[in-house]
Assembly symmetry: C2
Homo-oligomer: 248 residues x 2
């Protein structure tokens, strides 16, 4: 089996034991790229104990201060959530998501993002993802332990890598997906332009609005060229406003 370009990202894990157990789960399923965003306690003896023979993977784990840094170099990004559906995100069953992630990882490194044990991912963190991953579970107690979620996703990725791969989605973008960093620059640019043009949505607060926009743009799975087009439009909006001085 070829070495995968699939990164597992744990955001603010609070129990070191879960980090170790996640490392073991990954190694069991032939994954090796673990990134920790602001872990509460790491390195830690409990993490090492639970990692068992995956101590090498644990030692190689990178610790970074922001999710954006964890996603550097990545193309497709999926985030785990306990939400069954979301009006604005694409929500994929973990099995379908695994097939997609493996297919995408052939084009650029792909990432799966997991939230903290009690709180999960914030809306802002979810908005770095192209799709959300749903793990089917009992409606009476759907909250899986963090390392168990890593195990299940890693298992489905292992199966997807072993098996026949589905085609990429119909009409895949011709170019690679825009990187998370490119998308962040696009959103920052957009937010600035919205402010410059004093855009106010009557029904929503400013942050809610940006969240909505981010979600549908993430769902669009933009490639580099498409982001360039949007950035060009934004720049054009700005440059037309500047020389004109505008009436408002």
């Amino acid at each position: 089996m070829e070495s995968p370009r699939i990164r597992m990202v744990l955001v603010a894990p609070s129990h070191p034991g879960n980090i170790g157990a996640a490392a073991r789960a990954m190694k069991n399923m032939a994954l090796d790229d673990l990134v920790l965003v602001n872990p509460k306690q790491f390195p830690d003896a409990e993490a090492t104990a639970r990692a068992s023979a995956a101590d090498d993977l644990l030692s190689a784990a990178r610790v970074v201060p922001t999710l954006a840094q964890a996603l550097e170099g990545c193309g497709f990004v999926a985030a785990t959530t306990s939400r069954d559906r979301d009006q604005y995100f694409r929500v994929m069953d973990v099995r379908d998501a695994a097939a997609r992630i493996v297919a995408e990882s052939r084009r650029a490194p792909a990432a799966v993002v997991f939230g903290a044990e009690r709180t999960g991912l914030t809306n802002e963190e979810l908005e770095t993802a192209h799709a959300l991953i749903r793990i089917p579970a009992s409606s009476l107690y759907p909250s899986l332990n963090l390392s168990m979620a890593v195990q299940l996703v890693s298992y489905e990725l292992f199966r997807a890598r072993s098996g026949a791969l589905p085609e990429l989605p119909a009409d895949p973008p011709a170019a690679p997906l825009a990187s998370p960093a490119e998308m962040e620059r696009l959103y920052a640019h957009l937010a600035q332009v919205l402010e410059e043009i004093e855009f106010r949505d009557r029904t929503q607060s400013g942050t809610h609005l940006m969240g909505r926009i981010r979600r549908f743009l993430q769902r669009a799975e933009l490639d580099h060229n498409e982001v360039s087009i949007l950035r060009g439009i934004l720049t054009a909006v700005q440059s037309r406003r500047r020389p004109a001085g505008g009436p408002r």
Copy 2:
């Protein structure tokens, strides 16, 4: 989703944390029948902590001294193993096994047996199973944590119960599978008869021989009537020998 008749049996688990994590994994996947055979330490605070909101399931777990007692009332029995193949057992991929277990649980309670953390199941314990479950994993580090194995099997069972069910295998036995206790009585009877007739296989020791026989009989998935037939044959062998007094 209807209440399943699927029992999870942990044989001699040595880490209480794994028992608690297994309970949570089961409840997440809508299973509730946990049986512990000779746990090293139970109940235990670490088990309760790791069970989280599955503390009710943990409290309801039954503790028994033997695997035979754990399997009382069961029909189909599957056992987990890290073996990729076994010459004599039927080895099923966990996904196929889950579909089969769910189908069988409609006829009689089904059981999944997990071995101790370091040692797994003994040959004798494996021989109570109709099939072995194989969880696909990295050849470099295939040894999953016990509670992770429970999670993966429970997850596949949940999916199998949610989805369209496959038919039972072609030519299913018309009657329910013989219970584990019936099978044990059959093997005891057979061993006795083998001794009475002073049967010795030239190539194998006595215990190895019985193991081989058990495996192929387990693989046959005998129903009650078929066991009765075999028992009848054994009794006939004995009664013919007794009055005759035999020359040997």
